[in-house]
């Protein structure tokens, strides 16, 4: 099983590499220790001391502990953790609102940690935009003036910047509110202004610090949907910070889980759910509604089949008896699915000395593909007389039995690779 996981990971990496060669953000060994003599405390990080131990020894607080990860162009990378896990510090290290104690942040290959003020400002103006938890809008500026702030700072001509700001506001559905002040808008609308302000700059990277956490649940979901919709057309790189696992699973292409300043696991939502790296992650994902995240591939198992080209009823009966099955799927040598046969028919055919399975073959196969979400499998499996077949390009990839669905919902072992061995 483990080799197969590696294969999957490799294919993920390969797929990403097709997009660009260099990741847009590279974070290497990034650490932040708050307090006096922070540099001295880094040696305790080397020794692997915990956050509490370092606090006791030196009085310094570890914000971020040796974080390393890459963010590829065009992906939504979620950093998730509970409060105090260092996620907000981490995002501020990336645009250097907080100076790192150690380590590097490369944006397009340039190390931000080593940059002088002027270059840093230019990177912030052109490549990175940030959206804040409490919106961070300027109350003395109108919606339009807020949206054009980033462009104004760059010294862009008034007409041009207002044009861009208006476009950006229209994108988030606030075209009609440009002359209002932020104080006159609801929370959800204020955060749209925050988003429009960040997008007006046309940055490469969007840093979103708990951007939707201050909104009530319905509005939050609406904003998540809108962000995903916008992302379809914008294809920005988004670094999204959240403490809400459902949100992370919903919008993240990949998720980094943080605890006590350390990144404990990085992976796709499926990988995190299915293969929690340790007890902490496992506890974390315990309560997640798995049916939203898992799909057919994760719960299918290796099918028992008979080969229509080689096997007759007698062989099929033998195989079914051995495995204790009441039905079996029929494929050919290339694993193309032909249908299934049931024990009764096979037994009759064997008695009548028939040579071929074709006559008793049933073709009303309940079929799904590998990416069908688990939610959709529920209904199908309830009415199906036989296990559900997982088919791709006409080939049988696996089968799903009722028990597997229930087991997956209960959070027990699921296959990441799809077929257990």
């Amino acid at each position: 099983m483990s080799t197969e996981i590696k294969t999957i990971k490799r294919t993920i990496i390969m797929r990403k590499e097709e997009v660009t060669d260099v990741p847009i953000i590279q974070v290497e060994n990034l650490s932040k220790i708050f307090g006096k003599n922070a540099k001295k405390a880094t040696k305790y990080l080397d020794e692997g001391l915990s956050k509490e131990e370092i606090l006791e020894k030196t009085g310094n607080t570890v914000g971020v502990n040796r974080a390393s990860f890459d963010v590829e162009a065009g992906e939504i990378f979620v950093i998730m953790g509970l409060s105090g896990s260092g996620k907000s510090t981490l995002v501020r290290l990336i645009n250097r609102l907080i100076d790192p104690t150690e380590g590097s942040v490369y944006i397009d290959g340039e190390d931000l940690a080593q940059m002088d003020g002027k270059n840093l400002r230019n990177v912030r103006r052109e490549k990175l935009s940030m959206v804040f938890q409490r919106f961070g809008l300027f109350p003395h500026r109108t919606v339009l003036e807020n949206a054009e702030f980033g462009l104004e700072v760059q010294g862009i001509d008034k007409n041009e910047r207002q044009e861009k700001a208006k476009k950006s506001l229209e994108m988030v559905g606030l075209g009609g509110y440009i002359h209002q002040f932020p104080g006159q808008l609801s929370g959800g609308m204020q955060q749209r202004v925050g988003l429009a302000r960040a997008l007006a700059n046309d940055p490469e990277v969007l840093l979103m610090d708990e951007a939707f956490s201050a909104l009530d649940p319905l509005i939050r979901k609406e904003m998540q949907d809108e962000l995903l919709e916008l992302q379809e057309s914008m294809k920005k790189t988004i670094l999204f910070i959240t403490h809400d696992l459902d949100e992370a699973l919903r919008i993240g292409d990949r998720i980094a889980l943080m605890k006590d300043g350390r990144i404990v696991q990085i992976g796709t939502p499926e990988e995190i759910l299915v293969n929690p790296a340790n007890d902490y992650v496992e506890k974390f994902v315990e309560d997640v509604d798995r049916s939203k995240v898992l799909n057919a591939e994760h719960i299918m198992k290796r099918p028992e089949t008979v080969n229509i080209e080689k096997h007759g009823p007698r062989a099929a009966l033998e195989r079914m008896r051995k495995e204790g099955l009441s039905s079996i799927y029929v494929t050919d040598t290339k694993r193309n699915l032909h249908g299934y046969v049931v024990a009764e028919d096979v037994s009759d055919a064997a008695k009548q000395e028939k040579k071929d399975l074709k006559e008793i073959l049933k073709t009303d196969v309940p079929k799904v593909n590998t990416q069908t979400p688990m939610q959709e499998i529920f209904d199908l499996i309830h009415d199906a007389p036989v296990p559900v077949a997982v088919v791709e390009d006409g080939k049988l990839k696996g089968i799903i039995v009722r028990g597997a669905v229930i087991a997956a919902l209960a959070g027990s072992e699921v296959n990441l690779n799809g077929i257990d061995s």
């Binding site: 609102l97 912030r124 103006r125 940030m130 409490r134 961070g136 300027f138 109350p139 109108t142 700072v153």
Partner: protein, 282 residues
């Protein structure tokens, strides 16, 4: 106690004052003569040149609009000014007004940059805070002494003493206003790549405006109270009439002039307060 003889602190300060007076004589003379002349031109040629009725109407109209088209301030301003004119204290009023304007302007011009500096640097804040405490707690009369030493008597030392006495609130409130701007807004500004100057003028000062204006209001009020005290060293104005009343034990004269100061104070206070509205406020 006998071990340490009385320290000649007063002598030291006298010496320091003498030294300053002599060393900067050219500067003090320049200020005393040219600036003094300018103050008198403003008071006597400009302000007193305006017909009283016209002045009262202009103030009334301004009051109407400044107060948001309410009649209270307008009526008070018109009646109050008419009363002062009626008591034949118009020239004194104009002199006091001129002194207040000059002292306040100079205080603000000095105070706001110091307040900004203080907000930007913790070290500066630590140094300036006790100095500001000192300036505000020292009895105001004491400032009259070096003022006379530097500029002899008249309007100029009056402005000088008033500026020392009235500047601290502007410095303090500017510092406070800038420091009160929320951390997230500063981060928002920084995250868009603002320079220090851009951040100051586009975010910090506009956000701190209300607090700074409250400080300026305090400065103007303090300047007004000091201008009266400055009459003791020959600054012309309503204060002089008060002191005349005091010296001749004429309660009526003193009271009427005092009333004039109160009227002026209320008008200036309401004007500056009404100007203090923040954009985007609900």
């Amino acid at each position: 106690m006998e071990l340490i003889p009385k320290l000649p602190v007063a002598d030291w300060i006298d010496a320091a004052t003498d030294w300053t007076t002599e060393t900067f004589e050219f500067l003090f003379d320049f200020i005393k003569n040219d600036f003094g002349d300018f103050i008198e031109i403003v008071a006597e040629d400009w302000l007193m040149g305006i017909p009283i009725w016209l002045f009262i109407i202009v103030v009334g109209v301004l009051a109407f609009f400044v107060s948001g088209k309410k009649l209270g301030l307008t009526a008070f301003s018109v009646i109050g000014l008419w009363f002062i004119a009626n008591q034949e204290l118009w020239e004194e009023l104009m002199n006091t007004f001129t002194l207040v304007i000059f002292a306040s302007l100079i205080s603000v011009i000095i105070g706001v940059p110091f307040g900004i500096w203080m907000a930007k640097s913790k070290v500066v804040e630590k140094i300036l805070t006790p100095i500001l405490d000192f300036m505000q707690t020292m009895p105001a009369f004491v400032y009259l002494i070096p003022a006379v030493a530097f500029f002899s008597i008249g309007m100029v030392p009056g402005v000088f003493a008033s500026v020392i006495f009235a500047t601290p609130p502007t410095v303090r409130f500017t510092n406070l206003g800038i420091r009160q701007v929320s951390h997230e807004l500063i981060e928002a500004s920084d995250s868009f790549g603002t320079t220090g100057t851009q951040k100051l003028f586009k975010v910090q000062l506009p956000m701190a405006k209300k607090t700074i204006m409250a400080g300026i209001n305090q400065t103007v009020m303090l300047a007004l109270s000091m201008v009266v005290i400055a009459s003791m060293i020959g600054a012309k104005g309503l204060g002089q009439t008060v002191i005349t009343g005091l010296q001749r034990a004429e309660v009526g004269t003193g009271f009427v002039a005092g009333l004039g100061i109160v009227i002026l104070a209320i008008i200036i206070d309401r004007f500056t307060q009404n100007l203090n509205t923040q954009r985007g406020e609900q």
